[in-house]
C-alpha cells in the first residue's frame, strides 16, 4: 500500500467512528463467533441426531430420543441434581471462606500489608489445576493421608475419597475466583458510608450485615459465576478424589466417543443452567464485577 492510500485509510478511520469500531472488532469477533459459537452450534445440532447402533456413526436425521432418554431415566436426573448440589455447596463454601478473609484484608489490616496478603491469598490461582486436585488426593488418602493422621488421635475416621473430598477439592480450586471480586468490591467501599452507618448508631456487626454485605453483593455473585460453572462442568476432580460416583461432566466424557449426540444433549444441561443463571444475575450488575 502506498503512503498516500495509507493516509487515506487513516483519514477515513479518523472521521468514521463506526468504521473504526468495525476494524477493531473484525478479528476478535470473527474468531469468537466462527470458531467458538460455530463449534457450540455444531455440537448442539448433533444433540437432535442419533448414532447407528452397530457402526457408532452419527446419523443426521431429526430425533428427540436423546432428550427423551435424559428426561425419562431417573439416573440422569439424579446425576443432574447431585451435580447442581455439589456446585451450590462449593459456591456457598467459597463465599463463606472468602467473605471474612476479604473483609479482613480490605478493611482491617493496614494498607501496607494489603497487597502482600492478597498476593498470598490468590497465589494458588497460579498453581496448576491438576496439582491442586493431586494435593487433595494426598490430603484425603484413607490409608496414609494428612487428614487420617490429623483425625485418628481423636478417633475420627477421615472421610477418604468421596463426595466430601470432591466438594473440598473443588472449593479449594475455585476459592481465588471468589476472593478476587469480593476483595475488590470491599476495597472499593467508601469509608464515608461505613462511618455514616456507625455514626447513626449501628454496631460493627450490624454495619457488616446491613451495609457491607448488600453493597458487595454484586461482587459475590460475580465470583459465584466461576465457582458454580467451573464446578458444574468438572469431571477430573471426581476421577482423582471422588471414588465411584458421577457428575454431569463424567456422563458427557464417557459417552463422547461412542455416542456424541447423546453426549451433546447431556452437555446442554450445564449450558442451559449457566445461561439461565447469567440472565438472572444480569440486572444485579455482577457482570461488571468480573
Amino acid at each position: 500500500m502506498s503512503t498516500n492510500s495509507l493516509a487515506k485509510v487513516q483519514q477515513y478511520l479518523h472521521k468514521n467512528i463506526k468504521a473504526r469500531i468495525t476494524a477493531l472488532l473484525l478479528l476478535p469477533m470473527t474468531w469468537l463467533v466462527v470458531i467458538y459459537l460455530g463449534s457450540l452450534a455444531a455440537l448442539f445440532i448433533t444433540s437432535i441426531w442419533t448414532v447407528d447402533d452397530f457402526t457408532n456413526k452419527v446419523i443426521r436425521t431429526f430425533t428427540l430420543e436423546n432428550f427423551i432418554e435424559i428426561l425419562s431415566d431417573r439416573a440422569y436426573l439424579n446425576v443432574t441434581i447431585r451435580t447442581l448440589l455439589i456446585a451450590a455447596s462449593v459456591t456457598i463454601l467459597c463465599a463463606l471462606i472468602a467473605i471474612p478473609m476479604s473483609f479482613f484484608m480490605a478493611r482491617v489490616v493496614s494498607p501496607k500489608l494489603r497487597p502482600v496478603l492478597i498476593a498470598l491469598a490468590i497465589t494458588p490461582l497460579w498453581a496448576s489445576y491438576l496439582v491442586k486436585i493431586y494435593a487433595w488426593r494426598t490430603m484425603m488418602s484413607p490409608e496414609s493421608g494428612f487428614l487420617t493422621w490429623l483425625l485418628s488421635p481423636f478417633g475420627i475416621k477421615s472421610p477418604g475419597y468421596g463426595l466430601v473430598s470432591v466438594v473440598l477439592a473443588l472449593t479449594y480450586l475455585w476459592l481465588p475466583y471468589m476472593i478476587i471480586p469480593i476483595y475488590a468490591g470491599m476495597e472499593r467501599l467508601p469509608n464515608s458510608i461505613l462511618d455514616a452507618s456507625s455514626d447513626l448508631g449501628a454496631k460493627p456487626f450490624k454495619t457488616f450485615f446491613k451495609v457491607v454485605l448488600p453493597l458487595t453483593y454484586p461482587a459475590i455473585i460475580a465470583g459465584s459465576i466461576f465457582t458454580f460453572s467451573l464446578s458444574m462442568g468438572d469431571y477430573i476432580a471426581v476421577q482423582i478424589v471422588g471414588g465411584t460416583f458421577q457428575m454431569l461432566g463424567n456422563v458427557v466424557y464417557q459417552n463422547f466417543a461412542l455416542d456424541l449426540p447423546f453426549s451433546a444433549a447431556v452437555a446442554l444441561i450445564p449450558v442451559i443452567v449457566m445461561v439461565l443463571y447469567l440472565t438472572l444475575i444480569r440486572k444485579s450488575g455482577a457482570l461488571e464485577n468480573l
Binding site: Q10, L13, K18, R20, I21, L24, L25, P28, W31, L32, I35, Y36, L37, S39, L40, A42, L43, I97, P100, M101, F103, F104, R107, L120, A121, T123, P124, W126, A127, S128, Y129, L130, V131, K132, Y134, A135, T138, M139, E143, S144, G145, F146, T148, Y172, L194, S198, P204, F205, F226, S229, G233, Y235, G249, V252, A264, A267, P270, V271, L287, L290
Partner: protein, 264 residues
C-alpha cells in the same frame, strides 16, 4: 471502619484458618517430594532427593514441558492480539451490542471446559481433518482472550482518552499516537494479561484433552496419565512440587509490575 477487639480477633482467626486451608495442601505436596516412601504418606518416612534427580532425567516430562511451553506461547500471542483489539473497541466506544460482545468474550471461561472441549473436538475431527498440535493452540487462545481483554480494558478505563486526544491535537496521526502514547501506557497491562494467559494455557487440561492430536502431551496431560501408575507416583509428586514452587515466580513478577513506577 472501627471494630471491637473481639471482632478483630475473630476475623484474624478466620484469616489464619483460610490461609492454612490455602497453603497446607501445597506444603504437603512439596514435603512429600522429599519423602523416601514410594507412595505418599504422612508423616514422611525419611528424607531423600532421589525422586527429584529421577524426575529431572525423565524424558516424558521434558517432552511434555516443551509442548506446554510452545502451546502457551502460541495461545498467548494470539490472545494478546485479539484481546487488545476487542478491549480497544469495547472499553473506549459505546455502540449497539457492546454488552453482548463482552458477554461473548467471557463465555469461553464461563461455560464448563468440557462443553468447549467436545464442541471444538467435534468440529476439528469431523470438518477440519483431525486434531494436531495447532488445534490445542486454537482451543487455548479462545479462552485466553478474556484475561488479556480484562487487563487491557481495565487499563483503558483508568487512563481515559485525554492523553491520546492531546497527542492528536498536537498533530500526531493514529499510528503515531498508538506507538508513542497508547502502547507505552498499555505495556504493563499487556505484560500482566500475557502472563495470565500463559499461566492459564500452561495449566489447562480439559479443553486440551479434547483438542490434542495423538501423542501431543502437554504437562497436565502427562501428569494425569501417570497419576494412577504406582511406580510413577514419586515422579508425579516431584513435578507437582516443582509446579507449586514455580507458581511463586509469576506472583513475584506480577507484584513488581503492579508496583512499578510507570504504572501511575
Amino acid at each position: 471502619m472501627i471494630l471491637s477487639k473481639n471482632a478483630k480477633i475473630v476475623l484474624t482467626i478466620f484469616m489464619i484458618l483460610g490461609m492454612t486451608f490455602i497453603y497446607l495442601p501445597l506444603f504437603i505436596v512439596v514435603l512429600n517430594s522429599f519423602n523416601s516412601s514410594i507412595s505418599f504418606s504422612f508423616p514422611p518416612e525419611g528424607f531423600t532427593t532421589s525422586w527429584w534427580s529421577k524426575a529431572a532425567q525423565n524424558s516424558g516430562v521434558k517432552q511434555a514441558i516443551i509442548t506446554s511451553v510452545y502451546t502457551a506461547l502460541g495461545a498467548t500471542a494470539i490472545s494478546l492480539v485479539l484481546g487488545t483489539l476487542a478491549a480497544s473497541a469495547i472499553a473506549r466506544y459505546k455502540f449497539f451490542g457492546r454488552d453482548t460482545l463482552s458477554l461473548l468474550i467471557v463465555l469461553p471461561i464461563a461455560l464448563p471446559g468440557i462443553v468447549t472441549g467436545i464442541a471444538l473436538n467435534n468440529v476439528f475431527t469431523n470438518y477440519f481433518g483431525g486434531l494436531t498440535y495447532f488445534t490445542i493452540i486454537i482451543g487455548h487462545a479462545t479462552f485466553c482472550i478474556v484475561v488479556v481483554f480484562n487487563n487491557v480494558a481495565a487499563r483503558y478505563r483508568r487512563m481515559g482518552s485525554s492523553f491520546e486526544e492531546a497527542s492528536m491535537d498536537l498533530g500526531a496521526n493514529r499510528i503515531m499516537t498508538f506507538r508513542l502514547i497508547t502502547f507505552p501506557l498499555l505495556r504493563s497491562a499487556l505484560l500482566a494479561g500475557g502472563m495470565l494467559a500463559f499461566a492459564l494455557s500452561f495449566d489447562e487440561i480439559i479443553v486440551t484433552t479434547f483438542t490434542a492430536g495423538a501423542g501431543q502431551n502437554t504437562l497436565p496431560i502427562w501428569i494425569f496419565q501417570n497419576l494412577f501408575r504406582p511406580n510413577q507416583a514419586p515422579v508425579v509428586n516431584v513435578v507437582a512440587a516443582a509446579l507449586i514452587l514455580l507458581s511463586l515466580i509469576p506472583i513475584y513478577l506480577a507484584q513488581r509490575i503492579i508496583n512499578a513506577p510507570n504504572n501511575n
